[in-house]
Amino acid sequence: MSAADSTVSMGAIAGDRSRTAAVMLIVLTIALVLTAVISLGVGPSGMPLGRVLAVLLAGPNADHLPAADVLIVWQIRMPRVLLGALIGASLAVAGAVLQGLFRNPLADPGLVGVSSGAALGAVTVIVLGPGVLAPVFLLVGFAALPIAAFTGGLIATIILYVIATRHGRTSVATMLLAGIALGAFAGAGTGLLIYVASDQQLREVTFWTLGALSGASWMKLAVCGPVMALVLLAAPVLGRGLNAIVLGEAEAYHLGINVQRMKKLAIFLVAAATGAAVAVSGVIGFVGIVVPHLLRLGMGADHRPLLPACALLGGILLLVADMLARTIVAPAELPIGIITAALGAPFFLWLLLRNRSFVDL
């Protein structure tokens, strides 16, 4: 690559990519809205865009339009689309934050065991909820599942960080290997629970481990939506700290960042985002690694615009994957986790091929 090729001079100042980033944020916002509207029309009973818009504009209580259309758009597809966008956004942002924290573009909640930890938490509640854990269940009600998923994700993230980071330096090899071990351990726990589960519970558990949006409802949106929304709003606070920590923890401290506090907040946000996403949709992989990486190629690595851009593109990607999931084997539907893995895994391999130095163990 020649010097001219690698020169970045989009803005008035050479090397300043903030204008490119601003343009991308606007484009992504428009694209997300468009994708969401299109998703509302896709499904077993397809609906032309015009009708979707008419139903949308008429509101959820319109009585001059076919009741079936209103029901499909407002009660079935709307919560699903909103949840899908929020989940995609949360997973992508969780990925970007985790990568910033570990200073490594390979960290991903799905890859390093955080999602498995969250899933173990969720499955524990599903299987033991009616029995051993019944008193707890009564106490916190339907929030038990998200809380358990969050706790599982938090424990996994903390273990991972403690093991992989020494003297402010993170070993990629240790991180990935620890992630494999954590994932396997959580998987063993989940397997054990499956062993004692009833048939009904088994179906629910399978749904969790494959990842699916089919259970979306306004109820689930009401429980997990606010958590994800809060995480997405809070994440930009981390932008400054994540930028500084790119140089190393000591350097971030020299730059004036309270590193310990920032790390705690980052770990908490990753666990909250992953936990909430896993609680409603199960384990959906690769969004957290593909989205931040694509965006860094386009707009650079400044976390301040990167985190909101991840939220937008993550939402778009998950909505597109969900549309595929609903149409490929229509009228049945595929678990969305299968789609993201089928698309994400080859991308991930391509990533490794393209830049082997990412993993200089």
Binding site: V8, A14, R103, P105, A244
Partner: protein, 262 residues
């Protein structure tokens, strides 16, 4: 003024620093020299607050470092690390701009021009758009020098001196950029700021240091003006080489030549 008093750092059963005292004063260029593993970087880390001493105290203008919030400290002192790798594709300009993270009060105009001026200072004026990862080691080191110049601004602001700490700033630089880098440090000290630099080259140390601290095995072996410190005895006892120290006719500055080994 940064002041370490009787600082000890213990790792395992070994004292990496053993009751070391050192000062970084405004208006002075203080140099630490010494063999590999003598504890130079460790002392610098203690003085910057990166490492907490096992015993002894470190103060900045009388306040214990531990009591100072990172952003307050960062407004008064910047640190050039010995080496730094980036995991993500930042441009040179973006890396230099990281220096502005702790200066929220800066005007938008300065925010735009300060990184460019800093890049000019380290002779990388046309490098802003390059990717940091594609630069040579020496160029990367100068990018970080520009970054800390951006962070620290002027040597004195509102009559309060600022400080820069440089861990082997000349390690991978060619001779011209070694001199230019130390000239920047010299001007910073002449402007009223405080500088602490770890240097390996005794001749450069002799040229630039107002105060030279020579470390050996976790202790201060000698300190004072280069003239007083760099002697035949020191070369043998600290560096383990029998080497006759020369004296420049003009100014009596000491110099050492490897050829003079005997």
């Amino acid at each position: 003024m940064f002041e370490a008093e009787n600082v000890t750092i213990r790792i395992g059963s070994r004292n990496i620093l053993n009751a070391v005292s050192a000062k970084v004063e405004p208006g002075k260029l203080t140099v630490i020299a010494g063999p590999n593993g003598a504890g130079k970087s460790t002392l610098l880390k203690v003085l910057t607050g990166e490492l907490k001493p096992d015993s002894g105290s470190v103060r900045f203008d009388g306040t214990p470092l531990a009591a100072l919030a990172p952003h307050r400290l960062a407004a008064r002192r910047a640190v050039l690390p010995q080496s730094s790798r980036l995991a993500f594709p930042f441009t040179v300009l973006e890396v230099v701009r990281l220096g502005l993270e702790c200066r929220p009060g800066l005007s938008p105009a300065l925010r735009r021009t300060a990184p460019l001026a800093a890049l000019e200072k380290v002779d990388l004026g046309s490098f802003g758009g390059r990717h940091y990862q594609e630069l040579s080691g020496g160029e990367q080191q100068r990018v970080h020098l520009a970054r800390i110049l951006c962070q620290i601004g002027e040597p004195v602001v509102h009559e309060r001196p600022h400080y820069i700490f440089l861990d082997e700033p000349t390690a991978s630089l060619d001779i011209r950029h070694q001199i230019e880098t130390l000239d920047i440090a010299r001007r910073f000290a002449d402007g009223g700021g405080g500088v602490l630099a770890i240097l390996h080259d005794l001749n450069l140390s002799a040229m630039y240091a107002d105060h030279l601290i020579v470390m050996s095995q976790g202790e201060v072996a000698a300190e004072g003006t280069p003239r007083a410190v760099i002697t035949d005895e020191l070369m043998e006892s600290v560096f383990g080489v029998r080497l006759k120290v020369g004296r420049q006719p003009a100014g009596d500055l000491p110099f050492v030549l490897p050829q003079a080994i005997g």
